[in-house]
């Protein structure tokens, strides 16, 4: 059993690395792995290989940051999806449940309207994503104990408020310019990843994922239910706040870079669960690996399948949905029911 577990890790890591390499090589301007290595050396160490400067720019300024951003976004969404599913003891929830996505969507739209550009979109999306979760938490706390049920209820209320506000912004937006940007942003994309914003988003996502990896053991205990977790000595509320914070940071970081990307946070943890089991100490890191691979693959398809860019959210759902159906059939609904 142990060896087959190890094989799965190696296989998943291998797939992720292969997709990473493929993603940097492929595109409208195909490059060989050798040329990629040369381009990176040329930029970093100033070694001259006589490579076309355009090729160097494509690799170092475009494909590399974009692929890394994709990997991080997929990893962060998958990890926080795991955390939310464990937290609510419900395999059907994803990060949307506490209002992260609708908060971020509203923030992005607001900044598009206010500044008629996309420069402040990541910052606004990030801040409003955090605000939405914080408000959901406050609503839950208002009614006494912060139970999973109250959190879901708070999240539902806050999400619907932000959705309504987003609809209002869409309604008043200039339909030719602003509305298009808002709609496009809400379908998710890595096309406009700006290198200057990447480090901040990446740092936030990494911190979030680190919190989730460290809290994976307590997350197992928490999924036994509040009373049992408490009786086993877990500080339930503190742990829950810590995990919600980690998941929110990871999601908000991802959303601020790639917009709202559907499905990944729901489906990847499930696929990982089929493959590696439900123990969050394995599941969270494995989901991170799988999420990164999946997102790099989807983004690769987004930018290579047709002449123009396809929004991420469309392909994640189109690919993830049927694949999920296949897995459900194959594993007869999985082991959790």
């Amino acid at each position: 059993m142990r060896s087959s577990g190890k094989t799965k890790w190696i296989a998943a890591a291998g797939v992720a690395v292969a997709i990473f390499l493929l993603s940097i090589c492929a595109g409208r301007f195909p490059l060989s792995p050798g040329e990629i290595a040369k381009a990176i050396l040329q930029r970093v160490f100033g070694v001259e290989y006589g490579l076309n400067p355009a090729a160097v720019a494509i690799v170092v300024d475009n494909r590399l940051p974009r692929t890394m951003a994709g990997a991080l976004v997929g990893a962060a969404l998958a990890a926080s999806g795991c955390a939310f599913q464990g937290l609510f003891q419900n395999p059907l929830v994803s990060q949307g449940v506490l209002g992260v996505s609708s908060g971020a969507g509203f923030g992005a739209a607001l900044s598009i309207l206010l500044f008629s550009g996309t420069a402040f979109v990541p910052g606004f999306a990030f801040v409003f994503a955090l605000a939405a979760v914080w408000l959901s938490f406050m609503v839950a706390r208002m009614c006494g104990e912060v139970t999973p049920l109250m959190l879901v209820l708070g999240g539902t209320i806050i999400s619907s408020i932000f959705s309504a506000l987003l609809s209002f912004l869409k309604y008043v937006a200039d339909p030719y310019n602003q509305l298009a940007s808002i709609v496009f942003w809400n379908m998710g994309s890595l096309a406009s990843v700006e290198s200057s914003l990447l480090p901040f988003g990446a740092a936030v996502m990494l911190v979030g994922m680190a919190i989730l990896c460290v809290c994976a053991g307590p997350l197992n205990v928490l999924s036994m239910g509040d009373r049992e977790a408490k009786s086993m000595g877990l500080p339930v509320l503190k742990t829950r706040i810590l995990i919600v914070s980690g998941a929110t940071l990871a999601t908000a970081g991802a959303v601020s870079i790639a917009g709202t990307v559907a499905w990944v946070g729901l489906v990847i943890p499930h696929i990982a669960r089929f493959l590696i089991g439900s123990d969050n100490r394995k599941l969270v890191p494995f989901s991170i690996l799988l999420g990164a691979a999946f997102m790099m693959l989807v983004d690769l398809l987004c930018r290579t399948v047709t002449g123009s860019e396809i929004p991420l959210g469309i392909l994640t759902s189109l690919l993830g949905g049927p694949f999920f159906i296949y897995l459900l059939r194959r594993y007869k609904g999985g082991g959790w029911k």
């Binding site: 059993m1 009373r227 009786s231």
Partner: protein
Amino acid sequence: MSVLAVKDLAFSYGTHRIFSNVTFSVEAGQIFCLVGPNGCGKTTLAHCILSHLKPEKGTVFVQGRDIAEYAPRQLAEQIAYVPQNHTRSFPYRTLDVVAMGRTRMQKLMKPGMSHQDEALHYMEQLGIGHLAQTEYTTLSGGELQMVLLARALTQQSNILVMDEPAAHLDIKRTQDVLLVLTKLAKEQGKTVLLSTHDFNHPLLFEDEGADVKMALMEKGKISEIGTPVELLSSGLIHDIYNIQSKVLTLSADKPRHYLAAWNEEVE
């Protein structure tokens, strides 16, 4: 000093009073059985003692200290809990579930191999070692009950609180669990507090030579506390349940007590 002392405890859901004026104390190595009809408040009382519910009035003392002052980790060091009902959400490996009993001893680390060994040790002690590698969502209700007991034992606390420990168990497993509890109390000085419907459980503890106290609960009050044979031989059962009953003694190698009960109308 008592290990566990309950002083003038009361609890209500809104205006609905569940119990009041509950006072008792439990000594180290004692098995304390809360017995009473459905809806008498014994489960709610257990949850107040576990600090899952905040009593409206009164105090629960563990080792002389108010449980409201305990941090979760400290309280878990004192009290372990075996729930009657458990909702299973994800198919964890059974051994991992049992090893969660070590939560209070670990910081944010993975449980090391020693924790798994401990977990396996208690599973084997309860005769469920063969379930270690299975997914716990596939276990039967009785097996799950044993797993949750093993998890509580793995916690190595001084006090064990159980709600209807035999609710899902067959006749053999019931005997096994009751004997394990007797052994824990007699040999390791563990304190056990359990709620039950079955009068034969306290009788068995007494026959096995454990220090047993039985509290009869009725309509949110404790009406009497005493030793099982003595209490069940009095007229209290008739007063509470409105049935006839008699404690029977079967003599094998050692005397065994059983409560036989029948409806008045039939007689």
